[in-house]
């Protein structure tokens, strides 16, 4: 995980930042997600293609906490994002001016670190469920349910 780079799984995933919250839409599964706090920092790194090291560095620049604990929480979070297919391994490494830094705004004072969490919503998934087809005619067209 240390040297592996991840990117956001576009075009399946679209996202938007709106007042310190990131809304994420998965067009394939009909799920949608929300990130706040440290999750936003992680996501902003991933939007630039990032490794776990990049993400830990960014979190340490914004939040006060034990580096080992932050690293553990960040790794668990990346695993969750990958399980949800929101991120995928990056095929190409990012080209940056410095060796491995992502660009993250630094706060005036460090905030207290809270493990990142992913809020997942699945209430719209039934819109993507295929209706069972009762059969097709000889031309291959569905016979509508009566």
């Amino acid at each position: 995980m240390t040297s592996k780079f991840f990117r956001i799984n576009t075009p399946q995933i679209v996202h938007h930042t709106i007042e310190q919250e990131i809304i994420i839409i998965d067009f394939e599964t009909g799920s949608y997600f929300s990130l706040t706090g440290t999750g936003v920092t992680v996501w902003e790194c991933l939007a630039q293609v990032a490794s776990l090291d990049d993400i830990v560095d960014a979190l340490m620049a914004q939040y006060a906490g034990d580096r080992a604990e932050i690293r553990r929480d960040a790794e668990q979070f990346l695993n969750e994002l990958e399980r949800e297919a929101l991120i995928v391994p990056a095929a190409t490494l990012p080209v940056r001016p410095s060796s491995s830094a992502v660009t993250i705004a630094a706060p005036k004072a460090l905030l207290s670190f809270q493990p990142p969490t992913l809020a997942k919503y699945t209430d719209m998934q039934d819109l993507l469920l295929l209706d069972p087809i009762h059969g097709v005619d000889e031309q291959g067209w569905p016979v509508a349910k009566t």
Binding site: I25, L128, G140, W141
Partner: protein, 351 residues
């Protein structure tokens, strides 16, 4: 039905379907055409025979215009096999090529759109270069009530989004030419709130689907003059029983209301938006409005708009995100006294 896909497959299929429509139209005698004004565009419906006319046109009647001799911006051809005795060409894709939202793998590209509504048994194809679409259903009477209340959504969505107009899942009502967008998934109370406002004399644009666009400020444009209410909601509006279009289907479907028949309802084509409102039923007596974060409004608005239609993508999502960010957002905590809904909206948003 070999499922063989080539780059020309979408275009070939479109030509086959349009050719079948032309044969159907020719076989049914004089062409039937209706023109509609939708946000500055002339949309022409061309029917092969009369079977689909009384099922498709009522919901659009408020937008109908006299026949326009000019070339329509978009022409949609509609036919059914049962009344025209004209077969649909064979399905050229494998059965598993149809995706969850109806778009067909390998039959959608920069010029062509193809979708199958498996529940309805209807096919929509659109040539974006020719601005020509064809809608086919096996038999006109198979068109369900929810389609009659909001016909041709997929076709209009495909074509309008190319012009930065997005078909969204929302209701819209207004006062003094300023509109409120009612957002939220099915069952949240959008239709009830919109109908309550319409009966109170508000301007009515939609209860479920409308077009979202911007001319520097966001606005919505009407598509359908209908509204749908379930039994429980309809009991609140006994005066509307006489305008139910589908009395014989009520056991299985929501009541489809023809608001064009309601004198108090001011059917309005277009309204600029001043607020996004997310209804939620409280069971309390009184109604109140409470501010919510734009992110909450976006979560209520975006998924149900994006996931219902094939071919939605970042353009729709970012249009909705911009709308939520630039427009005040509220919960409408709706009480059981429905008359308070328009009263509360008016008091909080328009005075």
């Amino acid at each position: 039905m070999t499922g063989t896909r080539t780059d020309a497959a979408p275009r070939i299929f479109f030509e086959q379907v349009y050719g079948a429509f032309q044969r159907a139209e020719h076989g049914m005698g004089a062409p039937i055409q209706r023109d509609y004004a939708i946000d500055g565009f002339v949309v022409r419906l061309r029917f092969a025979g009369p079977a689909l006319v009384p099922l498709i046109t009522p919901a659009l009647a408020h937008l109908e215009m006299p026949p326009d001799a000019r070339r329509a911006a978009l022409t949609i051809c509609l036919w059914d096999s049962a009344s025209t005795h004209t077969l649909m060409p064979p399905r050229p894709w494998a059965q598993d090529a149809c995706r969850a939202r109806g778009d067909v793998r390998g039959f959608n590209d920069t010029r062509s759109r193809t979708a199958l509504a498996a529940d309805v048994g209807a096919v929509s194809v659109l040539d974006l270069q020719e601005n020509l679409g064809v809608y086919w259903i096996r038999a006109a009477e198979q068109l369900p009530t929810y389609e009659r209340g909001a016909p041709l959504r997929v076709m209009l969505h495909w074509w309008m989004r190319e012009r930065n107009r997005f078909l969204i899942h929302a209701g819209a009502v207004g006062l003094d030419d300023r509109g409120v967008l009612l957002i939220g998934k099915g069952g949240s109370g959008k239709s009830t709130a919109c109908v309550a406002a319409a009966l109170a004399g508000w301007q009515y644009v939609a209860d479920d689907y409308c077009l979202l666009a911007s001319n520097g400020e966001p606005y919505v444009h009407s598509l359908y003059n209908s509204a749908k209410l379930d039994d429980a909601a309809l009991k609140n509006f006994p005066a509307l029983v006489s305008v139910v279009r589908n009395p014989s289907e009520r056991a299985a479907e929501k009541a489809l209301l023809d608001l064009a028949q309601v004198p108090a309802a001011q059917l309005t084509r277009r309204l600029p938006l001043c607020a996004l409102v997310l209804p939620r039923v409280t069971g309390q007596r009184d109604t109140r409005l409470a501010p919510i974060a734009p992110s909450q409004a976006l979560r209520a608005l975006a998924p149900s708009s994006l996931f219902q239609l094939p071919g939605t993508g970042p353009a729709e999502f970012f249009a909705l995100a911009n709308l939520a960010q630039q427009t005040p957002c509220y919960y409408l905590e709706a009480g059981v006294e429905l008359s308070q809904i328009p009263q509360t909206l008016q008091a909080e948003l328009f005075l």
